[in-house]
């Protein structure tokens, strides 16, 4: 259950996805009101007829955000009313978000960075330094990289990264901000079961020269071309 609904605006258009016995459907609606985890929506309609969900039905409310992303609100129907306006009131159970991406991202990479260091100020700003972190680059786009790191990096921390670009093009180097860090799971090693957590880290490279970013984008194109060539072969 969620306690508040940031990013929701009264009057905003949304879509309601309903999975019913008749099948799956997405219907246009509007946010009329909200309070804590309760959301009041205009009753969805389809070809002039109201689509009335049952009480307790799970529905998904899809709300576009001003930044170009999308919020997915997993909800359940708690109340309906037909007078004075046909409305449906839902309780939001969980919120998912899809951010917009400015660049195409290539996945399934395994590139070992030639440098990955976190600006560590855990001992105070006077004792800060670049602390090396073991990581592997797993995805890459013109905006940044996704890494699988051996250590947790707090969101907002600065990371210096340098790695070879796929299929020529030299090295890419720059500093980025950790935008996302979540645990990946456990792994075994050394012949016995050693469980070490790894972390999936999303790094937005913001201190990078224009030329380096251009080379990064071109490297993504090269990788796509090569994947297609190998796939075709």
């Amino acid at each position: 259950m969620v306690a508040s609904l940031p990013g929701i605006r009264i009057g905003a258009s949304c879509e309601i996805a309903i999975e019913s016995a008749d099948g799956y459907g997405e219907y246009k609606s509007r946010i009329e009101d909200f309070q804590e985890d309760r959301l009041t929506l205009a009753m969805p309609s389809h070809r002039g007829t109201f689509v009335i969900p049952s009480i307790g039905d799970p529905i998904e409310v899809i709300v576009p955000t001003p930044g170009g992303g999308t919020l997915f609100l997993e909800s359940e129907v708690t109340q309906r009313q037909s007078q004075p306006l046909p409305l449906v009131i839902v309780r939001v159970l969980s919120v998912g978000q899809r951010q917009t991406r400015g660049y195409f991202r290539i996945l399934n990479l395994t590139v070992r960075p030639t440098e990955c260091a976190l600006w560590d100020i855990s001992a105070g700003r006077d004792d800060s330094f670049w602390r090396p972190v073991r990581a592997t680059i797993q995805d890459m786009s013109g905006g940044g990289v996704g890494m699988l790191a051996d250590e947790e990096m707090s969101v907002g921390s600065r990371v210096r990264v340098r790695f070879p670009l796929p299929y020529g093009g030299g090295e890419c180097f720059g500093i980025g901000e950790v935008k996302m860090c979540r645990p990946h799971g456990t792994r075994g090693g050394g012949g016995r079961s050693v469980h070490i957590e790894r972390w999936i880290v999303g790094l937005q490279m913001d201190e990078i020269t224009r030329r380096t970013r251009e080379r990064l984008i071109k490297a993504v194109h090269r990788y796509q071309a090569e994947e297609r060539r190998v796939g075709a072969a």
Partner: protein, 283 residues
């Protein structure tokens, strides 16, 4: 390139790492680089103790080796370089060939082997290191030749050819002049887009430096080396990391140029050994 990170947040350290409670971290040191060197050396030492059970971490070893160079710990440096080169070659086999990044890891591995072969103790150890360097370069020459034939991307092909040239040069191979002219042909045959991406980048400048060291007169070597050094220095952050301060290839090129009578300017990425010892502070 980069200004010092201004909006910094605390990086968290996991409890799983053995070097977590480093004594060195509590020791007052003068600069971020000094603290990084101290952390890296302690961390790398713990890592070496755990080998071969620990997962490969060639970059930590390379970092430790460079740190050793900066504080003039040559014995430890050679140990780290030897292990780093082995692990870097393994990285090529595991993923470098598939993702087209082999040439970068080969460059680092060859540089590491050259450092070990040049600065290890005279006698049996150095002879072994030199033999390892030679055998590795021949292996790289062989593998790269096949990879270059299969490579479809012009930049990929040229970087692999560059690796062959590097390998031949490090080994003192007689094929160097032939590989130089083959590189020239490749460069001339490149399309405009690829050439635009290649020019002014590390490989192109390293090629120019190699060519200068191999065929040019001593007085012309310094310019090529200074250009390569300038390019490498531009990639450095403030405060610089250990990896920003040492480049084995540049050290090798500088040593060769000096041997041939050149007097290169002071190169930032080819510091004298022990150049940053003062940054460690006092215990």
């Amino acid at each position: 390139m980069s200004a010092p990170p201004s909006d910094l947040h605390a990086g968290q350290r996991p409890g799983s790492l053995p070097a977590r409670g480093l004594e060195g971290r509590r020791t007052p040191t003068t600069t971020p680089l000094g603290r990084e060197i101290r952390y890296t050396l302690t961390h790398a030492q713990n890592y070496l103790v755990r080998l071969p059970r620990a997962e490969p971490d060639p970059i930590l070893l390379l970092r430790a080796a460079r740190a050793c160079w900066l504080v003039e710990e040559l014995d430890a440096m050679c140990v780290y370089y030897r292990e780093a080169s082995l692990q870097l070659l393994a990285v090529v086999e595991l993923g470098g060939r598939r993702t087209g990044t082999a040439s970068e890891y080969w460059r680092l591995a060859l540089g590491a082997l050259w450092m070990a072969a040049t600065y290890s103790e005279l006698g049996k150890e150095r002879t072994t290191d030199q033999a390892t360097l030679r055998s590795t370069t021949y292996k790289i020459l062989d593998v790269a030749q096949r990879m270059a034939l299969e490579a479809a991307q012009p930049l990929d092909r040229i970087s692999i050819e560059m690796s062959r040239l590097r390998g031949a040069w490090y080994a003192g191979n007689l094929e160097v002049p032939r590989l130089l002219s083959a590189m020239d042909q490749r460069i001339n045959a490149m399309d405009v887009n690829s050439r635009g991406l290649w020019m002014g980048e590390h490989d192109q400048l390293a090629f120019a430096s190699l060519r200068a060291v191999i065929v040019e007169r001593p007085e012309r070597m310094a310019v090529a080396l200074a250009t390569l050094d300038e390019h490498l220095a531009q990639a450095a952050v403030r405060p610089p990391t250990i990896m920003d301060l040492v480049d084995e290839e540049l050290l090798a090129l500088e040593a060769e140029a000096i041997k041939k009578g050149a007097r290169p300017d002071r190169l930032r990425l080819a510091p004298k050994r022990g150049a940053r010892r003062a940054e460690m502070g006092t215990r």
